[in-house]
């Protein structure tokens, strides 16, 4: 009986203490809440400037809490791929935890004029923004686009079969739209440099790790 009472006491006191702790830091002291200090005009929003009033401290605290939660909900909950094109690194992350930090190669930023005397050109940049893994391929073959021939001073083949090249993209490829892939490379000495035509290259081991964790729909954020 005594131990049950002790148990109740501990649970109740922990709830009380927990309540006290969780109530901070946005719960207000009564004195500060009752005072509505005049803010500097430089931080008033246009609406508030017009009305000339500042919401109460408790309103602001509640708003801050709500918005923080909304922002937190927008973050990917599952693992995502982050690519830093400036420093040529690919990270596999979950929230703020880094699951994998891999040296990569990204777009060279060079341009190649299109034939025919037009002003059109190919720009070999890795696209920036947010994408999603759209396809996962095993032992992918490279279907060489026109620029791959023109860049080497070769004629563009008419036969589609002449465009296919095996074994240059590594064991796996993850497509993220418009012909862009995360894939392997034969030129591992160039990892860490901006040398690609827009795709993201990794070494075999890192590519395997990314392939295993990523699924169709995994976000890829490139900056």
């Amino acid at each position: 009986m005594n131990s049950v009472a002790a148990y109740r006491f501990v649970v109740c006191s922990s709830l009380f203490l927990g309540g006290l702790l969780s109530a901070k830091p946005l719960t207000l002291s009564q004195s500060s809440d009752s005072v509505a200090p005049t803010p500097p005009s430089s931080v008033l929003s246009s609406a508030d400037s017009k009305s000339g009033s500042l919401p109460s401290l408790s309103t602001l605290q509640a708003r801050y809490k709500t918005l923080s939660k909304q922002l937190s909900r927008l973050k990917p909950q599952e693992p995502y791929i982050l690519v830093d094109t400036a420093r040529n690194h690919l990270y596999l992350k979950q929230r703020d935890d880094v699951l994998l930090d891999a040296l990569a190669s990204t777009g060279s930023g060079t341009i190649l004029p299109k034939p025919g005397g037009t002003t059109d050109q190919w720009v070999f940049d890795t696209p920036r923004g947010e994408f999603f893994v759209q396809s996962k391929l095993l032992n992918p073959a490279w279907v060489k686009p026109d620029w791959a021939f023109i860049e080497e001073g070769l004629e563009v083949p008419r036969n589609q079969a002449d465009r296919v090249e095996q074994g240059v993209l590594g064991a796996y490829a993850l497509g993220f739209g418009k012909g862009y892939f995360i894939h392997g490379t034969l030129y591992t000495r160039l990892l860490g440099k901006n040398v690609t035509h827009g795709c993201i290259r990794l070494n075999d081991d890192d590519l395997k790790s990314v392939y295993r964790v990523a699924r169709v729909g995994t976000p890829i954020i490139i900056f």
Binding site: V10, L21, P25, S29, P40, Y64, P76
Partner: protein, 232 residues
């Protein structure tokens, strides 16, 4: 034996509930509460929860950021309080650039989200199919260290390297700033009415970070600025 009696009955059998010590539960609860408390501080942990002006500013920024994070693009958040430029996407901090020094003109004219009109110009190299040697790609080192970013609605950000040693360049930058101020002062007289405040931000960054910012900036990139409050 007397000591054992507090855990066992006289016949030696154990009393089950006595092994359910509530203390681990209590400690676990405190630990969880402390964890939640740390997360409660939100995306601006430096904000003073009892300062209405600071809260007003961060909620304004957060309102904008929630809209931006809902879309599939990267955006910039310049936090003048913590002197940090955040490159962000989906509310995640992708990269942070420390600001060495800054100054701002007409901060009250900064509202909402601004969009970058054009990224700094880059001298891209052209691939020559007739040349067999390896083409030199673009790299971070090719990015400028001093440049101006123009946004819409009107906002100008001038980026300068913090270790600018070239006296001529320092003088030139100072002259430009002075000339702009003089122009605005003159136009406020000639127009008869005070001219619209045009916000301008001067950022001093290390050379490498100035190049990083130039690299990461893309046309149309959204920007939100968290301003300082005149507290204390």
């Amino acid at each position: 034996m007397g000591h054992r009696s507090s855990f066992f009955n006289s016949d030696g059998s154990a009393t089950p509930y006595r092994f359910f010590s509530p203390w681990p539960l209590f400690l676990l609860f405190i630990l969880l509460t402390a964890t939640c408390r740390a997360e409660d501080r939100g995306p601006f942990p430096d904000v003073d929860p009892n300062d209405p002006a600071s809260l007003q500013e961060v909620t304004r920024v957060l309102q904008e950021e929630v809209k931006l994070a809902a879309r599939p693009h990267t955006y910039l958040l310049i936090d003048l309080v913590t002197r940090t430029i955040h490159i962000k996407g989906r509310g995640l901090d992708l990269y942070r650039i420390p600001i060495v020094a800054w100054s701002m003109k007409a901060p009250s004219a900064v509202h909402g989200t601004h969009r970058l009109i054009a990224r700094p110009p880059i001298a891209r190299r052209t691939v020559d199919p007739t040349v067999s040697i390896e083409q030199v790609p673009l790299s971070l080192a090719d990015m400028p260290t001093a440049y101006t970013l123009s946004f819409t609605p009107t906002l100008t950000i001038e980026v300068r390297p913090s270790d600018e040693e070239d006296l001529f360049r320092r003088l030139w930058a100072g002259t430009k700033t002075w000339w702009r101020s003089l122009n605005e002062w003159v136009s406020s007289f000639s127009g008869g009415e005070p001219s619209d405040p045009r916000p301008a931000l001067l950022l001093e960054l290390s050379r490498e970070q100035a190049q990083s910012l130039a690299w990461s900036a893309v046309d149309g990139m959204p920007l939100v600025i968290r301003r300082t409050t005149d507290k204390k």
